[in-house]
Symmetry: C3
C-alpha cells in the first residue's frame, strides 16, 4: 500500500498515481493499492500537514507514505525517506514527515532535542528532475514506488538512498498546564471551522458541564465543556476533546474559528470555572 | 467491496480507510476494495444524505456501505447494520440508511407506515469508543470491516449484532400530482445548483417544449420543459427530468437554485401551460 | 485499469464507479482498478479538460480512460472510443479526447489539419439511455467497462463500435515566438491561480533572473524569470516553466491570475528584457 498526501488539489495528484502505476507496470509487477490521505492540506503549510499526518497515518497498517507539502521545491532542500518501524515516509526535508514518523515508530522522546530518535532517515540522491516545480511527479512518486518495490526492510539495497542524521526538525509548541487552566496555541483549523489546540484533552477530565473562559488575541469567550457537539444547542459554542485527543474549540453545526475568533498559530488561554 | 460515504471533508475519511485496512492486515486477510461515494454530503443533513445514497448505492454490486452523517454523535443514538438483499449498510440510527436500504432490497412498500419492511436491521453493541466525536473511525469503520469479513449472509455470527425492529424512521415527503400540475418540495440542491424535487419525472411526459410556471416561496418563475440542458440557451432556465428520475429545476451552464430562487426543503408548485 | 475524469463534482462519479463495478461483478470478472483523474475539471469547459488530460494521462500505463466533460449531453453529438497505442479513451465527440489521445499515441503531427492522425476513433452505437442528462452513468461508464473487458487490442470485436474518421476536432491555439518575446494565450488557470500559457517553456532558456514584461488585456506587468516559486519572495510574481513544459505566470504562495490580471483564453504577450 502506498498512501498519498499533498496540498496539490486537482488534478496534479493523478499524475503522481500514473507515475507510480507505470513504474510497477513497466516492471510487470502488480500495482500496490493507492490510498489518498488528502490533497487539500492547507497550502504550503508544513506544520499543519505534519499535524494531520501524525493524526491519520498511525491508523494505517505498514505502508509507504508519499507526502508532498513542499514550499521549497526547486531549492536545494533534500529529499528524504524516513523508516519508522514497518512504515516508510517519503517527502521533502522540511520536517513534515517527522511527527508522524515518530508516532509510527512508537518513539516517545523529546522531539525538540533529538528529532530523529527512534526513526531512520535516508537522503535521496536526486538526479536532475524534468520539472523544478513538480517534484511530486518527478521525484517523490518514483521514490515511493522504488521504496515499495524494494521493501521497507531493505532500504539499504537502494543505491539512491544514504543514511543521514542531519534533517530539518519540526516539533509542535508545548502547552503549559496547571490546575486552574492551560496556555497553548491553535495548531490547525479544520475545513469546517473546528479549532484544534495543542492542549491535551486530559485537562478537561471531570469538568463536563463546567464553563471555561477562553482567552484569545481579541478577548475572552466563555463556553461549556461538553463531550460531544450535540450536547449543546445548535449554533452554540463548546469546548471538547477532539478525536486527536487535544482540546478543541467548536460550535454545534457551526464554525468554531468564527465563534471563538481564532486562527491557526493564535495563542489561547483556558481558565477553568 | 466497502463503500464510504460521509460529510467529513478532508482528511478525516483517510483515518477510516486506515482503520479498515489495518483490521484486515492484522488478520492477514486481503483488504477489500474501498470506494468513496462522497465525503462532501451537506454537513449534518441526514435527509439529503439519505437522498444521495438512494440515488447512488443501487448502482453498486453487493457491498458493505459505511455511512456517517451523524449529528447525534456522542449521544445515545444507536449504531445500526441494515441488511438489504446482498448488501449491508452500516451507520447511525437516524434514518440515513433506510431509503437506500429499501431500494437495494427492492422493497416497494409504504415507508411511512413500515420503515423496515423488506430489510433487516441489527443494533450494534458499541463499547466505549476512544472518541465521542469521531465514531466514523472508532465505531463504524471497524464494524464495516467486521461485517465484510463475516459476510453479509452471516451477520448472525457477529456477537456485537442483535436484530432490532425499532429504528429511527426517515421518509421523503410525498408530492401531490394532478393533470394540471404538481405540488412538492425541494429535496436537495447539488453543488452546481441543480434543484432536485420530489415530483416524479413522469409528470413531464409529452410536455417537451411547453412552459411550466414554477411557484416558489418568493413568487412564480416560468421555464420550458426540455429533456437536456443544451436544449435551451446558455444561462437559460429549464425544467427537466434529472438522472434520479425526478423533476429538476436547472439552468444551462448556470445555477438553478439562484435562477428559481429556491433552496432545500422549500415548497414548489408546478403549473403546466 | 480504468481512469475516470469528469466535471461532475460530488457524488455523481460514485454512480459511474458503481456501474463499472457491477458490470464486472455481474460477469464474475474481477473489477479493474479505478483511478480518479479529476472530477473537478472546470465545468463544461472542453478545452481546459483537454489540456489537463493531455498533461496527466501520458503518465499512466496502458489503461481505459473514461472522460465526461459534455456540454452537449442529450443532443445528437456522438459517443466515441479512441484507441491510442495501448490506451483507449471513451467520451463524447467534442474534441476533449483528442489532444491526450495524440500524446498517448506518440502522434507528432499537425492536429489542425489532420485531427485523427495516429489514433483510431470508433463511434459507439448508443441505445436510448435511461437519462438524457447523465450519460456518464448510462453510456460512458458501461462502454468503458465493455472496452476494458474486450481489451484495447480487440475493439473490433465489440458490435457497438464502428470505425469513424469524422470526429469533432480540438486543438490548442499556436503561439508566435521570436528572439525578443512571444505572443500567446492563457490555456488554463489551476485552482491555486497558476496561469498556464501556450508558450513553450524553451523561450525562457538562459533567461533566469532577467525581467519579462507581460502584456495582458489590462496592461503590462513585469516579473522576473525564476525556475521555482521559492526563488522569489513570498507574495512576489514570477515567470517560470511549469510542470507541463509551458510558460507559467505565478506568485510564490499566492495567486498568479490575480497578480497578473488574466483569466483562461486571455491573450498575453511576453517581452524579454
Amino acid at each position: 500500500m502506498i498512501t498519498l498526501a499533498t496540498d496539490f488539489g486537482d488534478p496534479y495528484p493523478a499524475a503522481m498515481k500514473g507515475v507510480v502505476a507505470r513504474r510497477f507496470a513497466d516492471a510487470d509487477a502488480p500495482v500496490p493499492r493507492l490510498v489518498d490521505v488528502s490533497h487539500r492540506f492547507p497550502r504550503q503549510d508544513v506544520r499543519s500537514a505534519a499535524f494531520w499526518l501524525r493524526f491519520v497515518l498511525p491508523e494505517f497498517p505498514p505502508a509507504v507514505h508519499c507526502v508532498v507539502v513542499d514550499p521549497g521545491v526547486g531549492t536545494d532542500r533534500a529529499a528524504l525517506v524516513v523508516r519508522a518501524g514497518e512504515h516508510a515516509l517519503v517527502g521533502p526535508d522540511n520536517g513534515v514527515l517527522l511527527p508522524a514518523a515518530r508516532a509510527l515508530a512508537g518513539a516517545d522522546c523529546d522531539a525538540a532535542t533529538d528529532p530523529t530518535a527512534g526513526i531512520e532517515p535516508f537522503e535521496v540522491a536526486v538526479e536532475d528532475p524534468d520539472s523544478h516545480t513538480f517534484h511530486g511527479r518527478d521525484v517523490f512518486a518514483p521514490v515511493a514506488a522504488d521504496v515499495h518495490r524494494a521493501g521497507v526492510a531493505d532500504l539499504d539495497r537502494l543505491p539512491a538512498l544514504s543514511r543521514t542524521g542531519d534533517v530539518d526538525p519540526l516539533s509542535f509548541p508545548e502547552p503549559t498546564v496547571d490546575g486552574d487552566g492551560a496556555a497553548g496555541e491553535v495548531l490547525v483549523v479544520d475545513e469546517f471551522g473546528n479549532v484544534v489546540t495543542n492542549v491535551p484533552g486530559g485537562v478537561l477530565d471531570g469538568r463536563e458541564g463546567t464553563t471555561v473562559a477562553v482567552g484569545t488575541p481579541d478577548g475572552t469567550v466563555t463556553a461549556p465543556v461538553a463531550r460531544s457537539y450535540a450536547r449543546v444547542g445548535s449554533g452554540d459554542r463548546l469546548v471538547t476533546v477532539g478525536s486527536h485527543g487535544n482540546v478543541e474549540l467548536a460550535v454545534n453545526r457551526g464554525r468554531g474559528d468564527e465563534a471563538f475568533g481564532v486562527a491557526a498559530r493564535d495563542r489561547i488561554d483556558l481558565a477553568f470555572g
